[in-house]
């Protein structure tokens, strides 16, 4: 598989009055062309900050300290801002969680789509309008000629998110970063959205970075999965391997702690598996493996040294002393 985007050893820290939060602490991720990569983790794991780092949109007081982000032969962290702006939206675009705040309420849907098109392509207004309408058709919004004249608040949440998706696919980017794209939506709408995204990616061979805390979503949509914890990648592999044969205690813990529709009744489980404790503060990470205070299989060395990157199976890797 051709690698379209590669993150190497990324470190993004936040310098606040309370200390330094190591939001992303040495993360490496590879995405292949047309691949849907699920990035899962709970709050504070660094998945959103990683996404923002790719597009160099990390807000103050965050800063990308070190690392490389390779895209089509260039290192995104080293190119000048002007060139970066040509990449944003055009070759790598992003879908955010809350469509209401990512769409400008002061402009109509059509105006926003057309603006996106005309920033990156030298086309006329009429052509841009055509492009916008055909994109709305692709995301299955009925009556698109009327809709492009409407304002975001006139659309439902599901529609707005579809517009966002349309905007993301509009310029035919090679990579789309989707940060919790369906979390704010109802389950039945979520199903519609995913269906559309899946169809579009199949058609255009776009790579998708699907960032979410919803394991079900990942299981049903992704090809490969990356599991993050406290700013680091703890496991990665093909989706079947992760869901059926996870190695890392955190991944296992997560899998076992979520109630699965249909499962608990059949297995008469009364108690969900609990991972003891809670996510560590990014200002004060434990020594060695960041998961060690909560790990049921913690050994002495886990509290002293960071675990090495080990291979568990084909394309299946993890950072854990149990497999070294």
């Amino acid at each position: 598989m051709d690698i379209v985007l590669e993150i190497k050893n990324l470190r993004t820290f936040f310098y606040t009055g309370e200390g330094v939060a190591k939001a992303v602490n040495g993360v490496g991720i590879k995405v292949g062309m047309g691949e849907i990569l699920g990035i899962v983790g709970e709050s504070g794991c660094g998945k959103s900050v990683t996404a923002l780092s790719i597009l160099r949109l990390v807000p103050y007081p965050g800063r990308i300290i070190s690392g490389d982000i390779l895209f089509d032969g260039i290192n995104l962290l080293q190119i000048p801002m002007a060139q970066m702006r040509q990449v944003r939206g055009n070759r790598i675009s992003m879908i955010f969680q809350e469509p209401m705040i990512s769409l400008n309420p002061a402009f109509t849907v059509g105006e926003q789509l057309m603006e996106a098109l005309r920033v990156h392509r030298k086309i006329s207004k009429a052509e841009a309008r055509e492009g916008a309408i055909s994109m709305l058709k692709m995301v299955e919004i009925p009556d698109p000629e009327r809709r492009i004249k409407e304002y975001p608040h006139q659309l439902s949440g599901g529609m707005r998110q579809r517009v966002m998706i349309g905007e993301a696919f509009l310029l035919d980017p090679e990579v789309i970063i989707a940060d919790e794209p369906t979390t704010a939506l109802d389950v039945t709408i979520q199903a519609q959205i995913l269906d559309i995204v899946y169809k579009l990616t199949q058609q255009r061979r776009t790579a998708i970075l699907l960032i979410t805390h919803n394991l079900g979503l990942v299981a049903e949509t992704a090809h490969r999965v990356v599991v993050m914890y406290a700013g680091k990648v703890v496991e990665e592999g093909p989706v079947e391997a992760i869901f059926e044969n996870a190695g890392h205690p955190y991944t296992n813990g997560l899998m076992q702690s979520i109630p699965v529709l249909g499962q608990s009744r059949r297995q008469k489980m009364r108690k969900l598996y609990e991972i003891k404790g809670s996510v560590p503060s990014l200002f004060d990470l434990p020594m060695g493996c960041p998961f060690n205070p909560r790990c049921p299989s913690c050994k002495n060395i886990c509290t002293k040294e960071e675990p090495p990157w080990c291979t568990l199976g084909p394309e299946h890797y993890l950072a854990c002393w149990l497999f070294a």
């Binding site: 709050s43 439902s156 709408i189 979520q190 598996y273 609990e274």
Partner: protein, 323 residues
């Protein structure tokens, strides 16, 4: 289940919110948030209430607690009609019905310590002296998994999961019979959700509570509930014991809802039913059966007549013309 005591009974509950049409207009449109709901909660059971946005589930929770006053209908608690009780008369009953909120950040007063948050109910509703209150608060704190040293701390010093525990402590300190849990897990991380779910179940056993568990997360509801009620646009569409609802859903909405839930198991070969269109607004619900515009099994009568609530056997009810 029939011979068990029903501690809560909702009869034809309706709640309409008026929406002024224009600045000077005299006419009001109504948001029909809850439009004729019937159900009962039995002693010691957890009734799950599921629905998407606009279903009215949160409104029902607040009506039960009389935080909102119903437009029509009745609420019976322990055999007593509490629908129209004055605030004064409602006070002694409040000890027995409590609520846990969704947002662990806005549900705790940032200027009050754990001691005051949990102790407020005690001060108001009991004659316990300061020492007795302190003991009781510490006892409850232990039950929910908080440490004694948390007694004088402020909410901002805790994590989301811990704050939710404080909220739970506040709800159970008065030994209620019924606890309404309004999306108590939605704002929490996945691994913390498991802790809180287990805590809620343990408390239910230890303190013999009954829960109305309101949520949009079907997987959790299925795990924790004895029976599940499904709502759509202000009306109840199906009500059944959990296993039956999952294994044999009757209402087309329930079927599509269940099929839409992503399952953390690999293989995209599930028969998924994708509903067309968006959830309509509660201002102008569709005629006849509210679900008919999106229903994949709709027949002609569905657009004309609202379906009755039918008993399809084994305590399994549904509102659909197909039965």
């Amino acid at each position: 289940m029939q011979d068990m005591k029903a501690i809560l009974k909702i009869v034809n509950l309706k709640k309409y919110f008026p929406l002024q049409r224009g600045i000077l207009s005299r006419h009001y449109d109504f948001v029909r948030a809850v439009d004729g709901v019937f159900f009962e909660i039995y002693q010691g059971e957890t009734l799950g209430l599921v629905g998407e946005s606009g279903s009215g589930k949160s409104t029902i929770g607040r009506c039960i607690l009389r935080l909102i006053d119903p437009t029509e209908g009745q609420i019976w608690f322990q055999g007593r009609d509490i629908t129209r009780l004055s605030r004064k008369d409602m006070r002694p009953i409040r000890k027995s019905i409590q609520i846990i909120f969704q947002d662990p950040y806005s549900s705790l007063n940032p200027r009050m310590t754990v001691r005051h948050i949990v102790g407020e109910g005690l001060k108001r509703n009991t004659n316990m002296d300061a020492k007795a209150r302190r003991e009781r608060i510490l006892e409850i704190m232990e039950k929910v998994g908080l440490l004694p040293e948390h007694y004088d701390r402020y909410p901002h010093e805790f994590s989301g999961g811990q704050r939710q525990r404080i909220g739970i402590a506040r709800a159970i300190v008065l030994n209620p019979e019924l606890v309404v849990a309004d999306e108590p897990l939605s704002a929490l991380d996945v691994s913390i959700q498991a802790q809180v779910v287990n805590l809620l179940e343990k408390l239910k056993e230890d303190l013999r509570l009954s829960y109305l568990f309101i949520s949009h997360d079907l997987s959790v509801v299925e795990h924790i509930s004895d029976r599940i009620a499904v709502m759509y646009l202000g009306k109840l569409v199906e009500l059944a014991p959990t296993a039956r609802l999952y294994n044999n859903p009757k209402h087309p909405y329930t079927i599509s809802l269940l099929s839409a839930v992503p399952i953390p198991k690999v293989g995209r070969n599930r028969q998924r039913i994708i509903l067309r269109g968006d959830i309509p607004s509660s201002l102008k619900p569709p005629d006849g059966c509210r679900f008919h515009p999106r229903c994949f099994k709709a027949i002609e009568i569905c657009s004309q007549l609202e379906p009755d609530w039918k008993d399809t056997g084994s305590n399994h009810f549904a509102a659909c013309h197909l039965f």
